[in-house]
Amino acid sequence: MEANANYDDTKASMVEKINARRKLDNKRRVLFGYAMALFCAVLWGLWYIPGDMVWYLDPFVTMQAEITAMTGSETTSFMVFAVMITGINALLIVLTLCIWNLFMGKFSEMKRTFKEVKAADKWYFLAAACGATAVLGSFMAMGFIGAAFAAVTALMYPVVGSIVSRTWLGQKISRRAMMGIIVIVLGGITAYVSGFIDEVSSGNIPVWGFIGGIMAAVGWGFEGCFAGKALDVSEPDVGLHMRFIFETLIWWVIVIPILAIAGFPMFDYLGMIFEPTMLTVLIMLGLTFGFCYVAWYKSFPLIGVGRGQAVGSVYAIMAVVFIYMFTGANPGWLLVLGAVICVIGGGLMASEGSEEISSLRETGAVE
């Protein structure tokens, strides 16, 4: 009798120990996911500095001037240059990730994934196409309006991401996450109103800049979901590399050659980018965006697409702060308010307990 009681006590204490340990492990995993999303936010915010600078550096200033003289349209010049810099951005990230995956010992898995690319090729392609749309949109918003506006307007992307990941990936979204989404939308609207007031009061309405902001939000929102699907069966660092290889192919095999055939000087200025200042800016562009993506993709399988994107949205505050620090440009109080509201929304989404996200979707029975 006493032996049985002792056995029951030992068993109960073991179950208690396991539960405590599991809770701790789960908490650590979710915390790591959030840390990655935050790390992504800092680098993403930094990316807007070199992203904005390339517009004002040679040889690209000369290139834009040549296109303007050729077509008589500054809008066309901006758009063609936005395509060019998005293509360069993708290529730089492929190079950055080559170094990263080599350092992380992921080349064997990369080879295996390449051989079986058919298993997830449409997801890599769709993630690449949506990501490409988003980056192009962001560069358009930066070029036509300004980096701070580009950063804040893209903030609405977690809303798109959460809705699509719920309806299509079947990932769970709690009531608190839904509240966060509504707050982010309010913040996004505030930012848009701010941009609108500024531009309208200056008598200039850069429609393409506003369209770029929307492209960024919708593109990144969808990218996260397609990436989530690809990451179900691939290693995050490798999956990310594949996504950027697909994007690089879209730009350098399809879009840029078509523009070159149409007569734009797409390749004429490439040889001149090895000038030290330009090269430094481009390396910064590749490093900040490359590692921001590494961290972003790592957060998805751990905390879910919606939460990864929501925490990542702190990047807008970082961007506004960094832009102010490095360029002295005053973003305006309404834009800052919009960013703060969005980040509060992101915080709401991120504040739910780690137990609720131990599995991100309904799994069915275990065999």
Binding site: R21, S108, T363, E367
Partner: protein, 101 residues
Amino acid sequence: MMEGRPVKFRLLEIFAEKGHLWNYEITDIMANEYKDRKSKYGQQATNWDLIELAASGFIKETDASIDENKRNGNLLIEYGLTSIGRGELERLKNTISPRGE
């Protein structure tokens, strides 16, 4: 069928063939099959893949225990394949390229 193919493909197949397995059993199997999963870092990477597969809902925890041999008492987890994991494995089997090509 999935030997030597991407790690997550093979992991799903191992669960389908062998049923419920502890994480240390899986890391041992993968260390024997994949050169880059032999080292301590490689084994941790396999463990991480299991966590990701569980987050995706393809495998699910079926039992847990404490590793008494370790000073800090690491958590050992036993996983089993879920029905959506089985569905994903079947999809992958239909998409992979035949051997020798």
